[in-house]
Symmetry: C2
Subunit: 227 residues, 2 copies
DNA sequence: CGCTGCGTTGAGCTTCTTCAACGATCGTGG
DNA sequence: CCACGATCGTTGAAGAAGCTCAACGCAGCG
């Protein structure tokens, strides 16, 4: 279950020769995290960046009143905090383990050396940042232009796509975290799910969602209302 | 007024030798845009990316009902659509000129050749994407965790910072665009401004904002309420 | 078997949006 | 140079979506 990815299998470092990989790895530090443990907080100084080896992190912003907005989820082979390395400044968000997680701390200089050896690595990071940027654009669109029920419908379809286009989909997060991902609170999420269920579009049992009317679900996901 | 930036002054290409710069420039195409003209629409195929030489663009998402959310503003020396080059896929948003604007279309291959000549260019783009990512994180935070009045207060402070910490600040956009930037509509923005004015925090005359009580403004910007 | 935490449901309230009307401003053409 | 129309910004009233607070059911766990 706790699949651990080795550096040689990390797409970001594809292109590095195994000797360089070995050197890179030697300069990293392994950091084990338990569920709920904080990796860093918004405003912290960055000493390098992190690579998730196993488990999962949430990267989030929190409000003075305690509400949280998840910016993205980070899984095995994916980097966290690397943007600070490129642009400078302090960490713009916080990160916390959603389950038992192991990350690698990669010091700034070790990374720069790797890039010098193999410029292709920089291109991989460009691709990675670009993908994240696209994800953020979608998030902004959801928060600003879609209502909660539409976001949920869209997420179910997204999960269905990533989980093999089945009609059986598993939420990979508890309700509260799911709500933070959608930019809302558990109560509202609960009501949105209930609405989808009541209209016969999906069936919901705990974390399992069964898609009953895929077309209706698609309809809700991008138009929702009017037009 | 219409300051035009030359390629040699673009930070992204700092590091390129002038001969390489000349070659790069020779492979670009100049595209003049009038105010309101569309550069590309969400879903378009990208042939390369664009660099703004003069003027200003908005990059935005639009909803079926016609509302728009501005993702970012792009000025002289800044790139648009480059993320698609790195990550593939189609353009995730639309772009339109806010005023008379000239952009350079830089073909994918011309860019790749430049990077091959000078790997430092890749690092510059990493920094640029990272900054944009940070901006997007702030946008998400605003949309999800702050109310409109707080966003406006924050923006006024931001403008004050960028315009030299004066108490006299100029909105650089008409109301409607400003509203799109804040993720709301002109009516709501108008009321938010009115509230700030009524509490004596700022004074507003058309696009000019005079900060009357900077501390109160800061207070509104990050806490707003409770705690 | 009871405790604890998560998820759901209900009622009331706040914020924001919608729709409509109105005033001001600016550019244009007479 | 002025009058006109179009656009932009503001204001008001009503409605919708989402949030807060509180209570409750239920499952998992000690």
């Amino acid at each position: 279950m706790a699949s651990t990815i080795s550096l040689s299998a990390v797409p970001l470092f594809a292109g590095l020769r195994s000797s360089d990989l070995a050197e890179l790895e030697a300069r990293t530090r392994r950091i084990p995290l338990t569920r709920g443990q904080t990796l860093f907080l918004e405003g912290d100084e960055a000493r390098g960046f992190y690579l998730v080896r196993s488990g999962r992190l949430k990267v989030y912003k929190s409000s003075p009143s305690g509400r949280e907005q998840i910016l993205h989820l980070v899984g095995p082979g994916e980097p966290v905090g690397e943007a600070v390395m490129f642009a400078g400044g302090r960490l713009p968000a916080s990160a916390e383990a959603l389950e038992a997680t192991e990350v690698l701390l990669i010091p700034r200089q070790a990374f720069l050396d790797a890039v010098r050896r193999e410029p292709e690595v920089a291109m991989q990071f460009l691709a990675s940042l670009s993908q994240r940027l696209r994800f953020m654009a979608t998030l902004v669109e959801n928060l600003s232009l879609r209502e909660v029920t539409e976001r949920v419908a869209g997420y179910v379809l997204y999960l269905s796509r990533t989980q093999g286009d089945r009609d059986h989909v598993e939420f990979d997060l508890p309700r509260g975290e799911l709500a933070s991902l959608f930019g809302t609170i558990p109560e509202t999420l609960s009501r949105a799910l209930q609405r989808l269920a009541q209209e016969g579009v999906v069936e919901i049992d705990r974390r399992t969602v069964t898609i009953r009317d895929r077309d209706a679900l698609k309809e809700m996901a991008w138009a929702g209302r009017r037009l």
